[in-house]
Each structure stands twice: as C-alpha cells, then as structure tokens.
Symmetry: C2
Subunit: 243 residues, 2 copies
Amino acid sequence: MGPGQKTKTKTYCYDFPMVSVTVDCVIFGWDNDGLHVLLIERGEEPFEGQWALPGGFIRAGEEDLEKAARRELSEETGIGSPRHLEQLGTYGHPDRDPREEHVITVAYIALIKRDEHRPQGGTDARSAHWIPMEEARRKRLAFDHDQIFSDAVERLYNKLRYDPLGFNLLPNKFPLRDVQQLYEVAIGHEVDKRNFRKKLLETGLLEDTQEIETDVKHRAAKLYQFNWTAYQKRRAEGWTFDI
Amino acid sequence: MGPGQKTKTKTYCYDFPMVSVTVDCVIFGWDNDGLHVLLIERGEEPFEGQWALPGGFIRAGEEDLEKAARRELSEETGIGSPRHLEQLGTYGHPDRDPREEHVITVAYIALIKRDEHRPQGGTDARSAHWIPMEEARRKRLAFDHDQIFSDAVERLYNKLRYDPLGFNLLPNKFPLRDVQQLYEVAIGHEVDKRNFRKKLLETGLLEDTQEIETDVKHRAAKLYQFNWTAYQKRRAEGWTFDI
DNA sequence: GCAAAAGTGTTTCCCCTACACCCATGG
DNA sequence: CCATGGGTGTAGGGGAAACACTTTTGC
C-alpha cells in the first residue's frame, strides 16, 4: 500500500492483486411518449432492490468487450440485437464497487427500436423496466451508475446533432414529427417546424414510403424511412450529417 | 469453453479465469516541424524491440484509471503532468495480447507542450522517442496499438475543430500561424489566412502578449496566449468554441 | 533590394432564420 | 363545423468565403 494513498482491501490471487471487469449497458428506446432508459431492479447484493444499469462480468479469455455487452443485453433484458451499440467509456475507481475486489466497468450505449422488442422476456426480464428519462434522472442508481447514465445521456444528445444514429431509435417507418421531437429533446429547445423539415429532406436520405400513420385523431402524417445505404455512400465521400 | 467459440487458453485463479487491465497512452506533442507521437521501443517480451505505445498494468485496488495513466506517463516517458488527458476507449479482444492472460487495455490521449518536457528522463526514457505523425503511421506497432493509435488520431483531429484543446499542444505563447498549421493538419486541407485569423481573434480568447517571435529569418510574428479562464466562463454560459 | 512571411478590409453569396396560412381528417 | 396537427414558400440578414496588396525583417 503506497504512502498516503486511499486504498481498499485488496483481493489477491497468489501474489497478484485482482481486478474484475464488467460491462454495463445504457439502453435507450423511443416511444410515442418520449425517450426511455431500460433499468433493472437488482435481485442480489450489493445494492439489492436498487435500480441499476443492466450488466455483468465478462467471460475472461472468451469474449470481446462488445460481445460481452451483447450477451448481457440479451441475458438481462431479452434484447437480441440492438440497432446501435457503442462504447461509452470505462469507469475504474477502486471504490466504485463495495465488494472487496477492484471492479472496473466498461460502459456501452445501446439504441433499440422499441417496436422490435415488445416482449421483455429474458433471464432476468422480470426486473427490467423502461423508465422515462425524467424519472430516471431523479433515481439514485447503484454503484456509480448515476455518473455513467448522465455521461451516456450527454453523449447521446450531442451525437444526435451530427450523426443519424437517432434513426436507430425510431420505428422503420416514422413521421417527420417524431424526428423533430427527438431532436428537440436532444438540443433542449423547440425548433421551427418548416426549417427543420426542409433541412432534413434536403439531405435526400429520407424516403417517402407512400404510407401514412394510422389510428390518429387528425390528419395523418406521411411515413418516411431513412436510407442507410445512401448515407454510407455519402459519408464515404466525405459528407457529414448535420441537423 | 462455449461451443464454436474462438477462445484462448485461460489463466485461472482458483476457479475464476483471470483478466488483467493495462493503460496505454497516446501522447501527442507539437513542434515547429509538426505533430509528433511519443513511442517506445519495447525492452521486453512480448514484441521486444518493436515500437509500441507507452503503458503498463494498473495497480489493482490502489488507483483510478486516470491515475494509472499519469503514473505510466511519468514512469515510461518522464512526463510529469500532461496539459490534457482524456480517455479514448477500451480494447479487450481476448487475443490482443499473445500472453496467456486476457489483457484489456484502457487507452488515453495525452497532450503536452514539448517545450515543457525537454528532458525525456524517466525510468524507461532511454527508449522513448518523438516520432513525426507520418512516420508513426507507417510503423507496425505492437499488440493492437495500430488500431489504438489511429483511433486516437481520429479523435484528436475531430476534436480540434470544436474544442480548444489544441492550445495544450502549443507553447504558452505562440504565433497565430502555428494555430493555423495545427488546424490545417486536423482538417486535412489549407484554409484562408485572413478568414482564419479573423474567426480566431473574434472569439476574444486570444490575448496579444506584446511579444514577438525571435530567431526568425523574416518579419517576426506577434505572440498570443490563450485565455483559459475566459474560455471556461464563456463555456459555462453555453458558448461553444468552433473554428 | 529582394525574398519570405506577417498582417489587414471589403464585397459577394449562400444559408439559416423568422414568419403565417391552408389542408386533411376525426369526431 | 371545429379542433388538431400536417404540410408548405418567401424575404431578409448575418456570417462564411473569396480575394490582393502593403509591411516588416534578414540577408
């Protein structure tokens, strides 16, 4: 133990202090009533009964970090394959986990289309719940998950401005209104409807599906879809999405 | 071992497969002749004699990841405190390290002012060298350090556009030309001198030091310094740096 | 006096912004 | 027929881009 250093009791394996590595996922989903996060109620110590991000230990020597994230996603929430998965960052303060071991976690952000994951079935699915953003922000999460969650939100909101990853949250066919609402959540204020639609359609990446929404109490909006292959091509040419 | 999975031989501690965690640093420095990276020639297996990013194992239970990065920076390169240190990402493929253990590394980006670190003294400093970017890009680095390095360069170049972190590379007092050159390296093409200077000075964050450069074979340029406290204030008000 | 880089103003054009009205549908 | 949100065009202003010449210094 170094002089004057704050340390925790170390767990040893032979002579080596041990480290464990987990992955945690911040899973975002969009619904008619806004952006949600998937949280689980922990069924075991530590923090039993508290809300936390889904996650778990990686299988050393067997899997990549991203693969571990996909596995946890599936095991804990029943989500097969997210539309978007990206690494957020790694959190490794020695005291972030109250257990003896030094547990380092690699956090991932996952975006899913909620209409593709109606059933929340899965190993621990009984305890997984979609929580609206405002409500989630008020909760005190286990470990340092408050920090991870707020970092994830910041990353997502920033990225929505210059990356079309937000379309991974919307259903395959969506009205432009939904895109605007998602964008407004991200930038934190309302935008002009006409200008927004103009800029969005000028990219040429939104295709009119010739369908309209149903079950709506007023004039039905057209449904569009995002052309990912055209986007990839434009991007390869140096073009960047920016709304 | 899971069915059909590519795995490596696992190192066990009692019943648990082991993981080790390292930190690696991509250290950038600016000089009159451009951007450089600090690489070390490995003095031990694996990859003995090859070029690699400085880094090493974290001290489990004792230190934060960032603290580990600072320690490695100091031990391997003699750099006391970088002007900027940020986490890049974590790389965890089971086969990324040829040794038995599954070694996961957390990569950091460090920016330093080269005029503050003349002496490269340090534990292993004998093998640390500043390599110009072009040359570094051509080298085959140990482990997956090629990947980490190119990710770091991409992150740095992107960030230079909308974050003043580049001033952490320049000396405290610098001519505007240097800022422009750094920026041009980042965006990959030349920009108009007048427009660039105008936009830069309009931010109000650059102070004329009333000094001029010396030892130059032509008209000497004024030296400016970046006002970090003013920047923090503007940023807190919602303003964002963008050149 | 000439080579080499520093430094400076103005015009043009495009894009972003602001803004108001008609349309389609369900009840 | 009315309430609700869907959908559209245009004019004006501000900021980015383009552009050329004078100044200073060392040799």
